[in-house]
């Protein structure tokens, strides 16, 4: 934890430019009205016999998604998930679930190269269609973005001061895990998801043209906490993920992100690639 603080301090001191197009979380900013954003993610979760007994191979997830700016205050997004089943020996790949997301702008105050944005969000996930009987890639994890089912509502605040953007997301989740046959593997439980994200622009030092490729580095720290005492015993009630990443913004309308997720308590790590394109 100590080195995390040091790195965040580095961000604050060296913040000559910053970015808020975070890799693992959403910023409080919305996409422009009438634009569509298409994305394709590929995640590899490094499962093995030690960190996930019974697994034969890494989990590979492919997630196409589309977002649309309905107005300057509301955006919606939908994603599908296709994955392998790492608990089956034969090679396989199939539809594993979907996620719906909407973000609403609540407060937006701007000055020159400065802004404070507050948004609310709601997320609905339905995952785990495919890889039964385990149905989750990481059995002692709960994550609505990749493997669990349920609802989350929350707030995002993104603040840019002196060109440093820091974003904090706080959400309340109801995790309701239902397997593909309709039975519940777990009891419902409630959770709190908090994260802090920071971005830093390395290149270019000066913007002259839309054609310049931007190179950004990101650092995110995500936590999940179970509320209450009643929850399946295999979970720990606090989980954290440390997620560094890099990003290229090409021609001011495409993004290529690479990220790595380091989870606590011996949970498997993850590598992800994200391709984003804006359609005006």
């Amino acid at each position: 934890m100590k080195y995390l603080k040091v790195i965040f301090l580095f961000f604050i001191i060296n913040s000559s430019q910053s970015q808020e197009l975070y890799i693992n979380t959403e910023p409080a900013s919305l996409i422009p009205k009438g634009t569509k954003v298409v994305r394709l993610h590929h995640h590899t979760i490094f499962l093995n016999e030690n960190n996930e007994p019974g697994s034969f191979t890494s989990a590979r997830l492919t997630i196409p998604s589309i977002s649309y700016g309905i107005s300057k205050k509301v955006m919606i997004s939908a994603s599908l998930q296709f994955s392998n089943n790492p608990y089956e020996l034969s090679s396989n790949f199939g539809f594993n679930g979907f996620k719906l997301y909407s973000k609403q702008r609540l407060i937006s105050t701007d000055k020159k190269k400065y802004h404070t944005r507050l948004s609310s969000f709601i997320k609905y996930s339905n995952h785990g269609k495919w890889n039964q009987p385990n149905y989750k890639f990481i059995s002692n994890n709960y994550d609505l973005d990749s493997q669990d089912s349920g609802v989350e509502v929350g707030l995002i605040i993104t603040q840019l001061v002196n060109k440093l953007a820091i974003s904090v997301t706080s959400g309340f989740g109801i995790i309701s895990n239902k397997t593909a046959d309709g039975s519940y593997d777990d009891k419902n439980f409630n959770s709190i998801h908090n994260s802090i994200s920071a971005g830093y622009l390395l290149f270019p030092r000066k913007y002259k043209s839309y054609k310049q490729t931007n190179f950004n580095i990101y650092l995110e720290y995500l936590t999940s906490t179970i509320i209450g005492k009643e929850f399946p015993s295999r979970y720990e009630n606090f989980m954290s993920t440390f997620a560094p990443g890099i990003q290229f913004i090409i021609m001011s309308r495409s993004r290529l992100d690479f990220g790595y997720k380091i989870r606590n308590n011996k949970s498997p790590n993850e590598f992800l690639v994200k391709l984003t394109y804006i359609i005006y």
Partner: protein
């Protein structure tokens, strides 16, 4: 005689092929990346009276030139910037030639009716749009006290408030000031 004296130069400019006798410099706020600026530009490009947009990415501003014979609706410019998720920090209207501004009077320039405020009769070619939605509330109140034209409150030209103008493409009147 203290009327707008730029007609001569305007005619000259017109003949030289300028689209309008002015362009604007929009300073957008909240932009932090080239992607944001590009989104703002794409949003502005939807307006049919805009001829060209030249961004200054470092200053997060846009130089916007207009097509001739069009009424320029600055409210729509603001709407498009806000659709992209940002704000207009300030909007400067820059005339290709100096015009002599008589305080608190209207002038019909190209297809737009402008109401000009100036501190004394200054000849200048750079003016700032000071309509209600474009400036801070304090500044708006200060300027409000200096005029008794109701159009500053409403943004709409009426015969009771202002002198009559022919061939107006819109009854909107925009207010500009030599300096804020």
């Amino acid at each position: 005689m203290k009327k707008i004296l730029f007609i001569l130069s305007f005619t000259l400019i017109y003949n030289l092929g300028y689209s309008q006798s002015f362009y604007v410099d929009i300073k957008a706020t909240g932009l932090t990346c080239a992607m944001c600026s590009f989104s703002t530009q794409k949003s502005l490009e939807k307006l049919d009276f805009i001829k060209s947009i030249t961004p200054d990415l470092e200053a997060t501003s846009f130089k916007v030139e207009f097509k001739k014979d069009k009424f320029i609706d600055f409210d729509l410019i603001q709407e498009k910037v806000e659709d992209a998720g940002f704000f207009v920090g300030s909007l400067d209207i820059i005339f290709y030639d100096k015009l002599i501004a008589e305080n608190d009077k209207h002038s019909f320039i190209d297809n737009n009716l402008f109401h000009i405020f100036s501190d004394g009769d200054v000849d200048s070619n750079v003016f700032t749009l000071v309509d209600k939605n474009f400036i801070r509330k304090n500044d708006y109140e200060i300027i409000s006290k200096k005029t008794n034209h109701s159009c500053y409150e409403t943004g709409i030209h009426t015969d009771t408030c202002c002198s009559k103008h022919e061939n107006m493409k819109s009854n909107k009147v925009f207010h500009i000031k030599t300096s804020l």
